[in-house]
Symmetry: D2
Amino acid sequence: MIITIQCKDQLGLVADISRILSQNQLNIISMREHVDKAECRFFMRLEVDGYSDEILLEKQLLKILPPDSEIQVNPAPEKKIVVMVTKEYHCLADILIRNSFGTLGASILCVIGNHDLLKGICERFDIPFFLVPYANGKEWAEAETINRITSCQPDYIVLAKFMRVLSPEFIARFRDKIINIHHSFLPAFAGANPYKQAFERGVKLIGATAHFVTNELDEGPIIAQQIVPVNHSFTALDMVRSGKEIETAVLAKAMRLVFDDRVFVVHNKTVVFEH
Amino acid sequence: MIITIQCKDQLGLVADISRILSQNQLNIISMREHVDKAECRFFMRLEVDGYSDEILLEKQLLKILPPDSEIQVNPAPEKKIVVMVTKEYHCLADILIRNSFGTLGASILCVIGNHDLLKGICERFDIPFFLVPYANGKEWAEAETINRITSCQPDYIVLAKFMRVLSPEFIARFRDKIINIHHSFLPAFAGANPYKQAFERGVKLIGATAHFVTNELDEGPIIAQQIVPVNHSFTALDMVRSGKEIETAVLAKAMRLVFDDRVFVVHNKTVVFEH
Amino acid sequence: MIITIQCKDQLGLVADISRILSQNQLNIISMREHVDKAECRFFMRLEVDGYSDEILLEKQLLKILPPDSEIQVNPAPEKKIVVMVTKEYHCLADILIRNSFGTLGASILCVIGNHDLLKGICERFDIPFFLVPYANGKEWAEAETINRITSCQPDYIVLAKFMRVLSPEFIARFRDKIINIHHSFLPAFAGANPYKQAFERGVKLIGATAHFVTNELDEGPIIAQQIVPVNHSFTALDMVRSGKEIETAVLAKAMRLVFDDRVFVVHNKTVVFEH
Amino acid sequence: MIITIQCKDQLGLVADISRILSQNQLNIISMREHVDKAECRFFMRLEVDGYSDEILLEKQLLKILPPDSEIQVNPAPEKKIVVMVTKEYHCLADILIRNSFGTLGASILCVIGNHDLLKGICERFDIPFFLVPYANGKEWAEAETINRITSCQPDYIVLAKFMRVLSPEFIARFRDKIINIHHSFLPAFAGANPYKQAFERGVKLIGATAHFVTNELDEGPIIAQQIVPVNHSFTALDMVRSGKEIETAVLAKAMRLVFDDRVFVVHNKTVVFEH
């Protein structure tokens, strides 16, 4: 069983929680905790051996925890996701492959694209692809997208190189549920055309950042980042090519962490209990 | 306060330990635990806020833990070390600098060298240097070294590029207390001249490994490893030069982890509670 | 145009080569050269602007170079490959995706598997899959495989997690043409089950190595290597999962380098002119 | 011999240069070249075997190269440097150590500090330390610093954690000669207190950047960059501690590259011929 808890920090939380587990004959395999001092907030992720009624266990835990606590006992082991794309294939293809072989930690409900270039690859994997073009205006497109999403109730929305900026209204509906991959090591090169910016600045490393989407463009809580070295012989296009590799890898890592219930959001930051 | 515990694994350990802490009004800042299933062994490192009598707390913990438990309540915040060297300066100099500015997490009692090349740098930092040459035989040299060490009672012995193989008798006296830096990513290129081996094999990365010393040459529990990329344009000497940088960094990291009480040994492996 | 040259080293090679280029009005965009002193061998890769008759240029170059020279003027920009697999999908799927979107730098002629588990994914991408089981013996299987390969004349054979050891006869037929991905940072953990070996040794990093296949198991010239950090909380299975990511990335990088004519073999080593 | 060349790009440069070398019986060990297409500028670094009169060779090369060419035949193998510091010891100590053991590729003429905290470590290594406080105003301090520098004629000025912004006048006097280490992966977190900025942004990696100093704060040509992973458990102070390690390493690498005549400046970028 996996248990995640977040609540106001107070003395004795670990003792109280572990006592409940012990009383339920649940043996702790892995316990990770963190206290955000600035926010006075406590975060815990537990893997336990043994079995207990989930609803009962949650009730017992709620009784000993502060009033505002958020507990998940055995969150869905396989999340459901909607993927949004534009034209680039690399992140989507990686997700389709993992989905197809059962190693994504999630199942894809459908793919929504504002261009139809990636319809073919979705069809190869028997995943529904919906074209929602922006030709009729952003408002119409977002309304249509929200319809698609709400009709299939995903746990997360993954922006796998979706190159449109979402409206605050859209984002507000799916708070802490939208995962984006940005093609730079944020906060460097936020906004459009980061590889061109990187080329012009003459940096010696380029990167990628997976983050939850908030209203502030490219300012959401960062889940994972990685970089790759470049040098003077790289054109902006070479950087794009190298960057795609790291984009795919970073988004895959961020999804694994989120779908594995290892990521908590606290304001504009994340707590990530990695291996 | 810092508390480290290792013992046989059993149900309810975390509950019992955290109850004792809670009863002592000690608030957990950071709790890291690991269970080695193969060995059925439990490891924990705690940082707690508040103060409690150390001897009393240790007694209370021992009462609730299995008979074979090893507990340390507030282990020495600054370890004492003896450094052993041969001719290469880079690791020793790094240790002397950190020692001099109080950021080593340890204090150097003395340096023992089987050559006198590094006497000068020790003198610059007012650290006693003892020359123990091997000209009179290994037996004599080790006896002399043991005399020096036992007379100053260090917590750890750091082999900062000490290029002699220690005898089983020597090693037995300082079990899990001798930290070595080996100039390859073990288990690749164990033994002599790893950079020459690496050059001849044509590897694309070279590395360094910090480990506790056991009787099996270069087979002791690994504390930290890191690598650096190389290519066809590197001569064996270029690899040596690049390697020294990573050797220094890896040994520094391993020392920090050990002196910070983050490393536990379980057979030929380590449990390392990194940040 | 791309030109690659390897020959015995001698004085004035660069001057002679670049004079020929200059006489042909070819402007050097990128020139990389290396001399292996032990072998007294010269390697060069050129990218030039402009156009010249390829056969004529080759003749002019041959005239000024030592007798044993190997020259390629505009080697095939898109290589043809046969992929061999067993059961694991990750490397194959990555190759299929890149092939499908035209970014592999090669085109897949067919996939040969000694199990039929990966037939489905090949069919999704309309790539012929041939099952060549080892039930009838290795001799039969290799003969059958050689038939398949010789009938389609690939430039390279990519072992994308093909888990059988090839015979010396097989290897001899495709010298410097078989690319393998081994799931460890060679020479550590050669042979079977490297992740189990890595787990038992307690290493703090695991890796992957792409190399050309020779008769010595896992001893062929290394093209690319990379590592990923692990720690005590990784089971052998966790290492396998992390390792697959790096295997995929390293094989992809090695293929890109080879297909881009950036890799030369000199005895058991490679010269790799990376960006 | 080492030869560096930069000039306007034109057809036949490599042929002309290598012909001159060949006529002088100089065998090319390593030749690296780059053309910056946007600037139409050619860069080359050569290592050659054999000996030729340096002035004569330079004359011969100048004759065949475009008028604006910059050639260095056998630039000083050991550069002379002045180091400027404030309070932090880590970069300075690393430089002093390398200087002391003859592996810096440069010799330190003196150290100038705007505080006296690092006087002691300089004295340990018998390196002159000059205190130039800013209490009397920046203008006075810079004038005094310039006096010190001009009186000893260094090849480079290394800002080893010098925490004052230099005036445009100061910088103009030492164009492309001032190497700075900035404690972030630029362009992220330029300006003051980058670790605090990094902590507040919740990044998952922090970095360091070595660059030449120009009038635009933290906007000069980047020589080298590196990063180190961090996570939610790092306080801003932990980031500072981790960052210092990488600052030291990146500055050391940048100095090695510059002192080894491997770095060319082209506008706000560098061409770096690494191994």
